[in-house]
Amino acid sequence: MKIKESPSRIVFKIINTLLLLLLAFACLSPLLHVFFASFSDPTLLTQYQGGMILWPLSDSTHPLTFKGYSFVLGNSSLIRGYANTFFYVGAGTLLSVLLCSLGGYCVSRRGTLWMKYLIIIMTFTMFFGGGMIPLYMVNKFLGIVNTRWVIVIMGVISVFNVIIVRTAFQAIPASLEESAQLDGAGHLTILFRITLPLAKATIAVIALFYAVGKWNEYLTAAIYLTDRKLYPLQIILREILIMSSGTSEFDLGAEAGSYNLYKRLLQYSTIIFATLPILCVYPFVQKYFVKGVMIGSIKG
């Protein structure tokens, strides 16, 4: 049985579809512009005044070019930034998952006298903190400013994630852990052999949240790092994309005199080079993010 739709409903559906298509276009078009421009001829690109580029700019005398990308691959700061970011994301995610599960495990233990105070100690920090500068002074006192450690340690335990892990751990039947305990398993064995494997969907969610956040993080590195060798990708990107000072780091070889001509092309190629990994991965991991928002909302 199909109910006939009223004309106004049909009009609404058409408008709704058009609006959503427009939104999708608005979300995509800036990156399409960057993508097509990154193959365009630099001379045409510099002169172009037509707004969004939705097809590469070229003509018979100005062919499409991959020069932007070859210069990007030849920029050693950019490549090193990439490698540093991989390290920060890898080490940070591992440590974060480890510590958040440890924290979640501790505060999810039933029948302990003091763990509820640990939860209060952690939750309080969500609402009040010492601020940027006292934190900086503490790190300076510890001697970890301008080292790789500070980037890995800052934000490694998120209270929010600990609470998410705790909720997941509490859903595991206590009898499983008790029987392991009777067999003589210690807490670490229980955590790694029973609790973590059973909550791996939740662990995947917090690991992905952390990894994407760390990949994109800029401010921590801007505050704590001054040694160029330690810079993550995002700091190098800022130099190239926003300050424009970084474009002079590209080795243009024979065309070293024409930085201004290549500036935009280099910026566009850099954006694609730096964003491609995330853009390739996100359609496959986004369902975990959706799940993460749901878990968070149940808690909130």
């Binding site: 959503l20 979300c27 501790c106 601020g131 994309l241 935009r264 964003t275 928002v293």
Partner: protein
């Protein structure tokens, strides 16, 4: 809690307590010691004295800040920018979720959703780089605005009138898709029988939306609003630091970016700390205010 329960608890659970030590140490070092470090804001900091032994000057830093012309400018910018941003960017994901909810073709809905999440995954630096490029001389959006007669062809990032609209609408672009997830989740939980009953009573789609859908998701909306308002003072200073320039400081500089610039870049630690403390204080105040207003009028609250 007597001595005996403490003792039995210790015997039974001490191994868990040992496991909790690294977590506790982390929070003490990187969250609680910095809170003690707030006293820096009441001192005349010298590198030799550190924050324990520098000269105590009481409220002098606060007095300096309250007397300076920064106070008014920073407070106004922080509130105005964020309130405009909430007016535009808070309803946008709700509207998107309502529109997506009306789509019957699940495949189309899925594709639109996935595309709309995309900006959320692009890093802030890249987004600000794209913004800087699009609004530069001959930039893609500068030319669009020129065609619409809304701007001249020049670097709009240097023009202070454009900073707020650029900041706010780029924020919509970044967050509208991802922000809609939570409302779509709430929408999927609405009792379908209510719609059936409304149909029998002759209510059209529009009336169903007004009288069933929106009231059903209003607890989610209110919680999200409390969270948004309470994080108002700490919002996205990363983006401001990446986008503002000396020419636009007048409209773009907020308390957070000022603390970063004066405190860390210029090394004025004590002054920066006191301004930061002022910021945290207002932030807490806003949280309690939003929470109590909501508890009074809607019976939904965070705590």
């Amino acid at each position: 809690m007597n001595k005996k329960t403490i003792k039995t608890d210790w015997i039974r659970n001490r191994s868990v307590y040992f496991l909790a030590i690294p977590i506790l140490i982390y929070f003490i070092i990187w969250n609680y010691i910095p809170m003690v470090g707030i006293m820096l804001g009441f001192e005349d900091y010298s590198a030799r004295g550190g924050f324990l032994f520098s000269e105590w000057i009481g409220l002098q830093n606060f007095v300096d800040f309250f007397k300076s012309y920064y106070l008014g400018r920073l407070l106004w910018n922080t509130f105005f920018l964020n309130i405009l941003s909430i007016c535009v960017n808070f309803p946008a994901p709700i509207i998107l979720a309502l529109l997506l909810n009306e789509v019957e073709n699940q495949y189309f809905k899925k594709v639109i959703q996935t595309i709309s999440y995309m900006p959320f995954f692009v890093s802030m630096v890249v987004i600000c780089g794209i913004i800087t490029d699009f609004f530069s001389y001959n930039g893609a959006l500068t030319m669009l605005l020129v065609k619409l007669g809304l701007a001249e062809n020049k670097d709009l990032m240097n023009v202070k009138e454009y900073f707020r609209p650029i900041y706010i609408f780029s924020g919509t672009w970044q967050n509208v898709g991802y922000g809609s997830i939570i409302y779509l989740a709430a929408l999927s939980g609405v009792d379908q029988e209510l719609y059936e009953a409304a149909k029998i009573d002759g209510a059209g789609r529009w009336k169903q939306t007004i009288h069933i859908t929106i009231p059903s998701i209003s607890p989610t909306i209110i919680i999200m609003l409390i969270l948004t308002i309470s994080s108002l003072m700490n919002s996205a200073i990363e983006k401001i630091i990446l986008l503002y320039r000396p020419l636009t400081y007048e409209v773009a500089d907020v308390i957070g970016s000022f603390v970063y610039r004066r405190g860390l870049i210029d090394g004025d630690f004590d002054y920066g700390t006191s301004v930061g403390l002022f910021n945290s204080f207002i932030s807490l105040l806003l949280l309690f205010l939003a929470n109590s207003i909501s508890r009074k009028y809607s019976e939904t609250s965070l705590f």
